[in-house]
Every structure is written in structure tokens, then in C-alpha cells.
């Protein structure tokens, strides 16, 4: 994921005003355009836009991660209705709309997170709802220029210029121009659509150097310790202040757990899939009343273990992209990075955690 290795053939240069043109062209072609807009003061969210005017360019990251566009907070899996003859008519919701979607302006970490989601949703069963949307989505990522204080992408194999899963990675320049690095066929198609707006970059064009995000820990060391520390007292200490509020999971770009519920009345209903969270006691509670993860310690452990041990074991990658949302959202100051650096210290034979 080093920007220096980019094939110069795929690099385009876009003139000032390219964004407006791009949005207009896409909208004109009937494509749904998603871009960062300021929804609340100081808050940026990825949402459908009607023009380029509302697009926010100066932001650390969107409040909700990109995943919500492909794996919504709630979605209908099927509908059913009782017929007058007593039979029940079941209608599966069609796989996500065939409409093409172009997401302009997601951050590299959010986009890279889709790799983890792709693996989960295509693992032993192809999730048509997810993959339908995924196929129709083109991702025009904006490289990071000013990472936030909680960002730690470089610790988990990412970078502010990570192009993983992006179709085009855009390097915005201060004067409104941009370098567009095409990363996939979809990306090439997008650049084609832009026509004159984007021209191949002159040979020898250099990508800007990525801003510094300090690496804080080594995931391999963390995993080493995790492999041996399921029963460690560390979990009880580190989870003392955790209220299990779930904000970290809900905002996480790679968390993908869901709950399936039926919402029905006397004659008809819907089966829905909703985001869920392993920090909640109900997440693992059995109908019998037994809860295999009975306390916050075991739930906190699950969250760390899943991201840094189980997921790598199953899919060969860490389920964390270092976006820092969990730390920003936590109202009791639970800091994933400090938990992981603590673990690393322990792995190296050190001690004491910061509870």
C-alpha cells in the first residue's frame, strides 16, 4: 500500500471544478451520488447529494462509516402477509437496488474496511443484499490530508493514502485540482465518464507524501499475547469503566454483527436485519436465560479478540482499520489504542494496564 508504487498509466489529473462537473455528469447519467455533507454543525455524514455545492472537503472522517451504505442500520430481508384464504404470502425483498451508486469522498480507512465486510458477506454464504449493493457501488476515495489525533491506521496496516478497495483514490490539491489514481475497472469507467475533466497526468507526476500517522503498536505482538490470554485478569481490569454502551461497535467501519427480528402485526410483517453489538449483554443471551458472556469483561475481551485474533485467524486480516471512531465516541474514555499498547507491553513482558 505504498503510494510510491503506483503505476503512472493510471494516474489522471483533474482541473479545478472537476468535482462539480463529476457530480453533474453522474447525476445527469441517473447515478446516485453519495458524498460527505455537513449534517449537523461540525458533523459530516456520507449522504446522497443533488449538487456538488454541499460536498464537504475539510473533515477528518464521516460520523458513520461507509459500511452503512452497503450494510444499512436496518434492512428488510423479506415481507409476509396473510391472505384471505389463510395462506401466508412471503415476498423476499429484491436484492439491493440495481441503481448505480457512486460514493465520492469516503476516507481510505472506511473503504479499506470493506475488505473485511466483503469476506464476511461472501464467506460461506453470499449475502445478496450486501453484494448487490457492493457491485453497484463505485468508490471514489479521498486520500487523508489531516488525520485526527485518534487515528491509528498505520498501526493496522493502513495508511492515509491507502487505495485498498478504492476504485479511484483522489488526492485533492489546495487549488481545487486533484490527482486521480485509478485502481480498478470501475475506476477507469468513472474517469472515462468524466471525459475532458480528467486527463492522464503528465509522466513523472508525483503523488504527495502522506501525512504522518504514528504507528502505535504491532498487531502481530498483540495477537501473540491474545493467543494465550483468554483467561487473563487484564480483561476484568480493562473493562471496569466500560458501560457497554455500544457506540464503538455501531460506529466501527468493520463491525458487522446483526440481529434478525420480525416486526409484524395481525396480518402482515417484515423480517429485518439490524445492527447489533457484542458489548450488549443481550447479544449472547440464550432463551434459557443463560449468558455465555455474563459480564462486561468477557464482552470487552470478545471485541478485542474478534478484531485482532479470531478474524485474522479466519480471514487473514485484522478487523480494524484504525479510524479512531471508537475512541472518539467513547463517553468513558475507553481507548482502544491504549488497550492495544498495553497488550503489546504485556506481550513484551511488561505489566500493568491503564484501567
Amino acid at each position: 500500500m505504498n503510494s510510491a508504487k503506483v503505476d503512472e498509466q493510471t494516474l489522471y489529473q483533474a482541473a479545478t471544478g472537476w468535482l462539480k462537473s463529476a457530480v453533474d455528469i453522474l447525476l445527469g447519467a441517473g447515478v446516485e451520488v453519495i458524498a460527505p455533507i455537513e449534517t449537523d454543525p461540525g458533523v459530516v455524514e456520507l449522504a446522497a447529494v443533488n449538487s456538488s455545492e454541499a460536498v464537504a472537503l475539510d473533515y477528518v472522517n464521516a460520523r458513520l462509516p461507509l459500511k452503512r451504505l452497503l450494510f444499512p442500520v436496518t434492512e428488510v430481508l423479506l415481507e409476509y402477509e396473510k391472505q384471505s384464504d389463510g395462506d401466508v404470502d412471503v415476498k423476499s425483498e429484491p436484492a439491493a437496488s440495481p441503481k448505480d451508486v457512486v460514493v465520492i469522498g469516503a476516507r481510505p480507512c472506511d473503504v479499506a474496511a470493506l475488505e473485511a465486510l466483503d469476506k464476511v458477506f461472501h464467506w460461506d454464504y453470499d449475502d445478496v443484499h450486501y453484494s448487490g449493493r457492493r457491485e453497484g457501488t463505485t468508490l471514489i476515495t479521498f486520500a487523508c490530508t489531516k488525520p485526527g489525533p485518534q487515528c491509528f491506521c498505520t498501526s493496522v496496516g493502513g495508511s492515509p493514502h491507502n487505495s485498498a478497495q478504492s476504485d479511484v483514490l483522489v488526492f485533492l490539491e489546495d487549488d481545487g485540482r486533484a490527482l486521480l489514481q485509478v485502481c480498478s475497472d470501475k475506476g477507469a469507467k468513472f474517469v472515462d465518464q468524466l471525459g475532458d475533466v480528467a486527463k492522464p497526468a503528465p509522466a513523472g507526476s508525483k503523488l504527495p507524501a502522506p501525512p504522518e500517522v504514528k504507528a502505535r503498536f504491532e498487531p502481530e505482538k498483540v495477537k501473540q499475547w491474545l493467543d494465550e490470554s483468554f483467561e487473563d485478569d487484564f480483561w476484568a481490569d480493562v473493562s471496569l469503566k466500560c458501560l457497554g454502551c455500544g457506540a464503538c461497535s455501531y460506529l466501527c467501519p468493520t463491525c458487522h454483527c446483526f440481529d434478525i427480528v420480525d416486526e409484524a402485526n395481525w396480518h402482515s410483517g417484515q423480517r429485518r436485519r439490524n445492527w447489533d453489538c457484542c458489548s450488549h449483554p443481550m447479544f449472547t443471551k440464550h432463551a434459557s436465560g443463560h449468558n455465555p458472556r455474563p459480564d462486561q469483561a468477557s464482552r470487552c475481551r470478545q471485541r478485542v479478540m474478534h478484531k485482532f485474533k479470531y478474524f485474522p485467524e479466519r480471514f487473514g486480516q485484522i478487523a480494524c482499520v484504525g479510524c479512531g471512531r471508537c475512541t472518539r465516541a467513547c463517553c468513558v474514555g475507553q481507548n482502544l489504542v491504549s488497550i492495544l499498547t498495553d497488550i503489546e507491553t504485556r506481550a513484551k513482558g511488561g505489566a500493568n494496564c491503564d484501567a
Binding site: 461497535s249 416486526e263 439490524n274 469483561a297 468513558v332 474514555g333 481507548n335
Partner: protein, 287 residues
């Protein structure tokens, strides 16, 4: 940010003393965290850990939420640092038998307000000096006289809207809700062993994050806190979607204040307005 040494030092001493004398098993207070933009909760279980306790103007959290948590209660007797506003929540917990007075040592801290600029709730705070604590560290701070009309200014902004504007406003705000229940989990008074949303037979509240379910959830939450909520604002602080939940709670608190002359948590003896009645309570609007 400025550490209040006039409080921090005696606080550390008092906590160390309680711990070393074995009077409490843990002191829940605020600690310094270099990375955080506020002073997060800290659990001191050994006398030397008390040195890490601080009190400053970034102690936003209402620590009384931990009083109902099983993993904290299992430690034994709890010493807890409370600001005057937090004490109101403790009073409700005492009234509702969640915690027994003898199982907790209240370490009161005078507080001239949190945040810079001052949080809205702090600028109208009427409990700057906690009353009825076991220990109070530091000197009392000046308590400005607060006009009753100022108490509920957040609600007033929305009250000024027309009914259609309010629907517009709230349907927009509540549409954002992702049903993470952070508001519930940080609320000191949402201690139910089983939340109403978790009861599935019947499922009164749809758990899907659509506006219909979100309204049901937020109405239930607000109603269950009516006459109980002490307006600590933790729900709003925790909400990852920045929904102005505090305004709803404030509106209901205002109603209880105006109708039944009741402010929650001023004492642990008061009866909650929904557990009592007056024969001549107002009944405007009943056919």
C-alpha cells in the same frame, strides 16, 4: 483544562485514607488521561492508586451510573466522587432501592461547573455544593441564584416551535438514531435488569432503526425517566448521533416542576410524581 488542586489533593488524601482503612473496597473518581479530551472514570482499589484521582473542569461523567453495575458492586463497599448534580442521581437510586445508603461512601466535590465554555446544565446548576455526603473535600463554591425560568431553557427553544415544526425537527433528529442504546447504557437511572426494548413478548418497541421504532424507543425512554431524570445530560453526551435528548428530558422535568412542584433527586425521601397523586391535580384537557 485546569486541575483543581484545592480539591484534587484533599480528594486523593481522603480516598487513600478510605482505602487504607478498609472503609471502602474501591473509590470511583475521575482520572487523568493524556489522550482523552476529558477526565475519564478511574477506579482506585489500592491506596496508592488514589494518587491518580483528579478533579478538574473536564469531569463530565456522572459516576453514579456505576452504582448499579454488578461488576462494581461485587467489589464491596463503594466510595464514589459526586458533584452536586451527580448526587441527585444517587438520591434517586437510593429512593428506588438500587443502592443502600450504608453500602456507599459519598465523597462530595464542590463544583463551579464543567467545561470551557461552561456546559449549559452547569450554568443553571443549583447544586454546586453537594449536600448530605459522608465527606466533602475542598471549600464550598459560590452558588449563584438561579431563576426557575432558566432551568429549562433547552426545552424552551423547541417549545417555541409550532407543532408541525416540531414534527419536522424531531422526525429529522430521531431518524438519525441507530439504536445503539448508548443513551440508556450511560444513564444512571436506566438500571433495569431487562430493558423494555429487550422484552420480546410482546415487543412493544420495534428494535429496527426506522423512525417508527425510533419514536417508540425515545418516547419510552423519556417517559420512563419522567419524574426521575436529574438532567445530568449523559445520554446526550453519549449519543454518537448527536440527538438532543437532553431537551426531551428537560421538557418532562419542567412539566413535573410546574405541575407537581417536583424536582427529581433533591432528596432520597421524595415520592416520584408517578407514584403518588393529589386529588386536585390539574386535569385540563380531559373530556
Amino acid at each position: 483544562m485546569s486541575t483543581n488542586t484545592a480539591i484534587t489533593e484533599p480528594l486523593q488524601r481522603a480516598a487513600a485514607e478510605l482505602l487504607s482503612e478498609g472503609k471502602v473496597a474501591v473509590v470511583i473518581g475521575y482520572g487523568m488521561d493524556g489522550d482523552s479530551s476529558f477526565s475519564p472514570p478511574l477506579f482506585a482499589r489500592e491506596p496508592q492508586e488514589a494518587e491518580r484521582l483528579v478533579f478538574d473542569d473536564r469531569c463530565f461523567g456522572n459516576l453514579s451510573v456505576y452504582l448499579s453495575k454488578d461488576h462494581i458492586r461485587r467489589m464491596g463497599k463503594i466510595g464514589i466522587v459526586v458533584k452536586g448534580c451527580d448526587l441527585r442521581a444517587v438520591n434517586v437510586l437510593l429512593r428506588e432501592h438500587v443502592v443502600k445508603r450504608e453500602d456507599v461512601v459519598l465523597i462530595g466535590v464542590p463544583c463551579a461547573g464543567q467545561g470551557d465554555p461552561l456546559l449549559g446544565k452547569c450554568s443553571v446548576c443549583e447544586q454546586r455544593n453537594p449536600q448530605g455526603c459522608d465527606i466533602v473535600v475542598g471549600d464550598p463554591v459560590e452558588q449563584p441564584q438561579i431563576d426557575a425560568a432558566q432551568r429549562y431553557s433547552e426545552a424552551a427553544d423547541i417549545d417555541a416551535k409550532s407543532i408541525e415544526e416540531r414534527w419536522e425537527f424531531w422526525s429529522g433528529q430521531l431518524s438519525k438514531c441507530i439504536r445503539c442504546y448508548a443513551c440508556r447504557n450511560v444513564c444512571p437511572l436506566c438500571y433495569c435488569k431487562r430493558c423494555i426494548t429487550e422484552k420480546t413478548v410482546p415487543q412493544w418497541i420495534e428494535t429496527s432503526a426506522h423512525l417508527r421504532g425510533n419514536i417508540a424507543w425515545n418516547v419510552a425512554r423519556a417517559f420512563h425517566l419522567t419524574g426521575r431524570c436529574v438532567n445530568c445530560g449523559e445520554c446526550e453526551r453519549a449519543c454518537p448521533m448527536d440527538i438532543p435528548l437532553g431537551a426531551i428530558n428537560q421538557k418532562m422535568a419542567q412539566l413535573m416542576d410546574e405541575r407537581y412542584d417536583f424536582q427529581s433527586g433533591l432528596s432520597s425521601e421524595d415520592k416520584a410524581p408517578f407514584t403518588t397523586f393529589n386529588v386536585d391535580d390539574p386535569e385540563t384537557g380531559i373530556l
